[in-house]
């Protein structure tokens, strides 16, 4: 599909598409709206907490709410998702307590939750590595079902436009293709990899990368939650049915800095942001809800109230996160006992006991 799939215009106009569409209830639509408002608030709150010194770093998702909520809500409980470090919205849809995400960026853990509880792997910071994990996991799904049967559930791997240049990501395409693995590669093309514009990673649209590996590549308006939901559902269904991998390029924009350590004014111009502000993922749903009557001001006020409550809870929970015990660094180096770690841990306890803590 060479054009951008869109089901809801920035003005809140509903479009239809012969192949990709969603039949969505008012209830569901309000749910998507709520999700997006809440994760945006989560993001804003985390950002504020970083500024207050409560977090070491925060990679904001601002502008990518629709891409993440649309993709996340396309998943079923038995599907499995592999995120980067920016998928706070997807984490939300997988039922990961946002406090765990704060915990990671506060530096009290390098993980924060049990991936199997949520079908949601831990954030991957080394760019692209998770795409191969996703393919391997999908090969496991195939094997659980039997190689001659439809896999039944799907796997999705998130990555960014920058990541598309990593060898591992391209190896993942190779592996997925030759194994016909039930995996969806979901690229949030937010136009930037820190300071590098898309043109440093590719000279043609990213969704076309898939063709070269023999997989369908699809492009969707990443700021349109309905279109993302529709296309991701279709791709996951494909995977579940045994029809193999595909690549979705969600065309979106990183409205914020790369992380709280970044200063984007050094490398991009305000006018670009202005343009993308007009395409805000939440505004268009709000407009559509109001226009169709599927949601009213009262509903929106209620969601804002929920957001306020959540933010307050987050703030408190973040501050209450206990520092890990020094011992924690020895606790899980290995799954089975290991002599050296035990020795070093013993030494450490004695050392700390001797009041060096």
């Amino acid at each position: 599909m060479s054009e951008l799939l869109q089901l809801l215009t920035p003005e809140g106009q509903r479009l239809h598409h012969p192949d990709y569409d969603v039949d969505i209830s008012g209830e569901e639509l309000r749910g998507l709206y709520r999700d997006m408002v809440l994760v945006r608030r989560l993001d804003t709150e985390a950002h504020a907490l970083q500024r207050q010194g409560e977090l070491g770093l925060w990679p904001p998702l601002l502008g990518q709410e629709a891409a993440q909520i649309g993709a996340g809500r396309a998943l079923r409980p038995d599907d499995y998702a592999f995120p980067t470090y920016r998928e706070h919205g997807v984490a939300w849809t997988r039922g990961v307590d946002p406090v765990s995400l704060l915990a990671l960026f506060r530096g009290v853990t390098n993980g924060g939750y049990d991936p199997t509880d949520h079908g949601f792997a831990l954030p991957t910071i080394v760019i692209g590595d998770q795409t191969l994990h996703a393919v391997g996991y999908a090969m496991g799904v195939q094997r659980d079902a039997g190689l001659d049967s439809p896999p039944g559930s799907g796997v999705i791997s998130f990555f960014g436009d920058g990541a598309s240049s990593q060898g591992d990501v391209n190896e993942a395409f190779v592996w997925a293709a030759v194994n016909n693995a039930p995996v969806v590669f979901f690229c949030q093309n937010n136009q930037w990899a820190i300071s590098q514009p898309l043109s440093r990673q590719t000279r043609i649209p990213l969704y076309r990368r898939a063709e070269g590996f023999g997989c369908p590549g699809l492009r969707v308006d990443g700021n349109d939650v309905l279109a993302v939901l529709a296309i991701t559902r279709a791709a996951l269904d494909r995977a579940r049915r045994g029809d193999g991998p595909s690549l979705i390029e969600a065309y979106t924009y990183r409205m914020g800095a790369h992380t709280t350590s970044d200063d984007p004014t050094r490398y991009r111009v305000e006018t670009e942001l202005e343009q993308w502000r007009l395409k805000d993922p939440i505004e268009r749903v709000r407009a559509y809800l109001l226009r169709t009557g599927a949601g009213d001001r009262a509903f929106m006020d209620e969601v804002d109230q929920q957001a306020d409550d959540m933010a307050a809870r987050l703030r408190q929970a973040c501050r209450d996160l206990p520092d890990p015990a020094p011992d924690a660094m020895f606790a899980h180096v290995y799954a089975e006992p290991q002599d050296l770690v035990q020795q070093e841990q013993r030494w450490w306890r004695e050392y700390l006991g001797a009041d060096h803590g």
């Binding site: 792997a121 994990h133 591992d168 190896e171 290995y334 050296l340 770690v341």
Partner: protein, 324 residues
């Protein structure tokens, strides 16, 4: 006990038995299927278990380890083959940043019981990148376990144990010993224990993998020619190190040498020597000497006998350490 078998055959048997015992065990790598691996260590597995459990992979080592991680997350126990030592480096990122760290990162929630088999070491007259000893890179990486066998009996049992271990294990196979034969049978030690393979009182010789046979030859010669008694210890596990028997030995001999094929500089011998020097400081009568390769890339094969430690060079070190 039965007939003596080669190390390659013993490893093959271990894979057959491990796959029979546990349906979650998978074998994956380049040419491991119909070909049975370039050293035939995976022979017959594909015929028995098909693509479902024996996966001929694309030519991509990062892919092999990365996909194995995903399979392990899904509950499988992949046994990966890296075709030769020199080809593990494209997978270095996945091994170092993901495989080794995932368990700690997840605060213990995610176990990655992945075994990575690597034929390693030189002495087979091969072209570049087919003769290296990369153990030090892995040993310095917390979260990995590194073991190496020196003969068929250990090979069989250690590989079985490695596959059942819930941590990632780098399983180094001394390729020039693939064709050496031994009887299979029970092994006393656990996977992470070293073993005194020859008792002696004059000098402690610490070695592993391909060098064990060489050091036993040295001990034999030293005994015959000079009446010296060398105590030879096969470390078997390189991470963790089991140096208890080494310390005991050095407490008696007062002299030790450490032998490996890898370059001495920054090699595992440094770790071993340092620990010996620390623990046996007052019993050492001479510094611990290291015998290994020089700080140089693996040379063309016509020079490898100069590059690799051999009986003469080890004997020379024994003389030196005794003369100090």
């Amino acid at each position: 006990m039965g007939e003596p078998v080669t190390l390659a055959a013993a490893l093959n048997q271990a894979l057959h038995d491990a796959m029979d015992d546990d349906p979650k065990v998978l074998v994956m790598g380049e040419d491991v299927g119909r070909l049975g691996g370039v050293f035939r260590v995976t022979e017959g597995l594909h015929a028995k278990h098909t693509d479902a459990r024996v996966i001929d992979t694309p030519l991509s080592e990062s892919g092999i380890v990365g996909a194995a991680i995903g399979l392990a997350m899904r509950g499988y126990r992949p046994v990966c083959e890296i075709q030769f030592d020199g080809f593990v480096f494209p997978a270095f990122d996945q091994i170092t940043t993901q495989l080794a760290k995932m368990h700690a990162r997840s605060d213990g929630a995610t176990r990655l019981p992945v075994t990575i088999r690597i034929p390693y070491g030189g002495g087979i007259g091969a072209v570049e990148h087919h003769s290296e000893s990369p153990e030090a890179y892995f040993a310095h990486t917390a979260g990995l376990r590194i073991v190496t066998c020196s003969h068929a009996r250990d090979g069989y049992q250690m590989l079985r144990q490695a596959i059942t271990c819930d941590d990632p294990v780098i399983f180094l196979e001394p390729k020039r010993r693939y064709w050496d034969k031994a009887e299979l049978g029970d092994v006393g030690e656990g996977l992470f224990q070293s073993r005194v393979v020859r008792a002696g009182g004059d000098v402690t010789v610490v070695c592993y993998g391909p060098m064990v046979r060489t050091c036993l030859e040295v001990a034999g010669l030293a005994h015959e020619e000079d009446g010296l008694s060398l105590e030879v210890i096969d470390l078997r596990s390189l991470s963790p190190l089991d140096l208890g028997p080494v310390f005991d030995s050095v407490a008696r001999t007062g002299r030790a040498i450490v032998v490996h094929e890898a370059p001495v500089f920054g090699g595992l011998g440094a770790e071993i020597a340092t620990r010996i020097s620390e623990k046996c400081f007052f019993s050492l009568e001479a510094p611990v000497l290291r015998v290994g390769a020089p700080h140089a890339p693996y040379p063309p094969s016509k020079l490898e006998h100069h590059y690799l430690p051999d009986v003469d060079r080890i004997l020379d070190a024994v003389d030196t350490v005794r003369g100090m």
